[in-house]
């Protein structure tokens, strides 16, 4: 009986771990998709630096570049995560940007 109880506890623990991992995955997906892309942003000013408006927030070109590169880095480390790039089929293009 003890064996079956410990087995049940182990299964429960594994199930929770999987659930948590799944939640993390959902959160990660949400985080990845929220990264603003310059092509979706409006122009605030073409200057030094350029400024864009994305989802109600003003970003400089440097900031958007940094966010994009960080997102691409995350995807490289975890290929399971969905691509943030709407043209993910053109990965060679995104790398060469």
């Amino acid at each position: 009986m003890g064996h079956s109880k410990s087995s049940a506890e182990a299964k429960l623990a594994i199930g929770c771990a999987l659930a948590i991992a799944g939640c993390v995955g959902i959160v990660s997906i949400a985080a990845a998709s929220s990264v603003p892309k310059v092509e979706d942003c409006g122009i605030v000013t073409i200057s030094t630096p350029n400024k864009y408006i994305c989802d109600g927030k003003v970003y400089t070109a440097y900031e958007l570049q940094h966010l994009r590169e960080k997102s691409e880095q995350t995807q490289k480390m975890d290929p399971r995560m969905p691509s943030n790039d709407s043209q993910s089929r053109q990965t060679s293009g995104s790398k060469n940007r």
Partner: protein, 581 residues
Amino acid sequence: MLTLFKGCTSTLGRRRRGSVVLLSWSAAILSTALLMLTGATSPLYAQAGFAPSVTSGTSAAAATTTMTLWTDPRTGQVFTRPGRGRVPMSFAIVNPAAQRVLQQQLEDQKAETARLARQLNEQRTQTTAVAKQVNDITPAWQNYVGNLKNKVSVGTLVWFDYGLFTHTGWGPQWLTQFNAPGPGNNMYNSFYLNRAYINFLFSPTEDWTIRVTPNIYTMTGPTTNQLVGRNSAYSNSLIGNLGYRLKYAYLQYNTPFKALDIRSMAKDTIQIGEIPQPETAWEEDLYGFRYVNLTTWNWAESSTFPGIAIQGPITFGPEDLQYIDYNIGVFNNGGFHALELTNTTQFQGRVSIYPFGAKWRFDGLGLTSYYTYGWNNATPDTANLPAALKGSSAVQERVAEIVAYTAETWGLAFEYDWGRNAWSVGNEFSSSGPPAAFGLTPNLNAALTLDQQAYANLAGALLGNGRAYQQGFNFFGHYHIPGTRLTVFGWLKQWNPNTQVATNPFDFQYFVVGVSYQWNEYLRFALDTQNTLFYHDQYNFPVSYAKTFGFTAPTGFKSATIPDVVTRDTHAVMLNAEFAF
């Protein structure tokens, strides 16, 4: 000691008489030792007597005296007087006074040593403090250099394009540093470099910013071949060279109203120097595709003037929404690449109202008015000459009324423009025009040359007589195609350079339709078609009517009409690139 003495004598007294002498000498030795211990300084007995001798040394050793005893080396006995087989041995005795002097010297040495030790410690402490100060200084320097990156910005703005002109014609420039030949040169094509800003911005403190921006310009001008000596020449031509000139150079005060604690205007600034005028740079950002074509008033007016201006958003409410955005200033009448000739200045002002509040610069519905009042750039002695038509000395006004709605991914705007003496022959033919309009003789037969001269004179009369009124309409907008890097855009313009003329052959329409591709945060491309359409049907302009505008027929021109005054359209396909950093 006395008991010992008595003991010694009682013992020795029992011995025979010959031993009494030895007893006496023992007593003498004992007495001498006692005296030495008590520190007596005077000789105890005469040296020649039967006692040890004591002498004082030299002045250097005056602190010491010497006592001499004798010893028998064979037996080791010590005697107080010399004798056979005995050798003297001397002892230095430090006298008490000298001892006290020596002691004092020792104490003085100790004190001096202690003082030197304290001095050494103090120096060590000071050295430690100085080293700490030096260490503190170095990080502050490093901190300054490290923070310099937050005070200095260097950027660039480059516009480069390729144009294929399926139909060439005279007309205005679509972009600066952009010239295409006139009629008869179809399929002309060229690469152009339209802009190459180098932006230097330095903000030593949050209150001040200095900007210096050089930019290219196309050198055009007569050939300036040089005669060298009596029989040599160097060829020289400016035309076609791209030189650098100063576009912006100004000081900006970032916080004039922050200092006054006016929160609504905290982001407003004051600029002085060679600065952007209130409308063009603002509209370029509103349109978003300045790298493809000029905005309306920039066809006729410089984007930059020496002057002083105040500008910025005015915000209200808990969310600090922008309800007003303004820019007003006073400037030279001549632009940034002209010598100022007038004794007046011009006023320019733009006010943009956002009735529903704007979260960012162009957010939502915006209503904009722009107005300028000044004079054409002419010296007072020229401007004050009496004349029926002031021509290039006339007062000058410009108006733009713009209604725009802008979202993050699309925008649409309508613009109405009005001007007074704000458009010239040079503006009409800023890309290319008839040679006669520039004081040059075309390579044509005499008849055609004369006709062209008449045409050029007509342009001068209709466009620059000092009583010309301009009117124009614009639609422009863009739309980002969701899920792509593509944005379609367009510009449609109607321009009447002098509404006083019933059918003005110089009226034109201009339109752009294109698609832009955003490569990354700094680089984008556009493929577009651009077209200038002189839309009136071809006709001959009556000389009599032309004369009401100050037309003067060229010498030898006898015709009653000026032939074929509607010039040809221009059509081109362009590939534009912008790199902005």
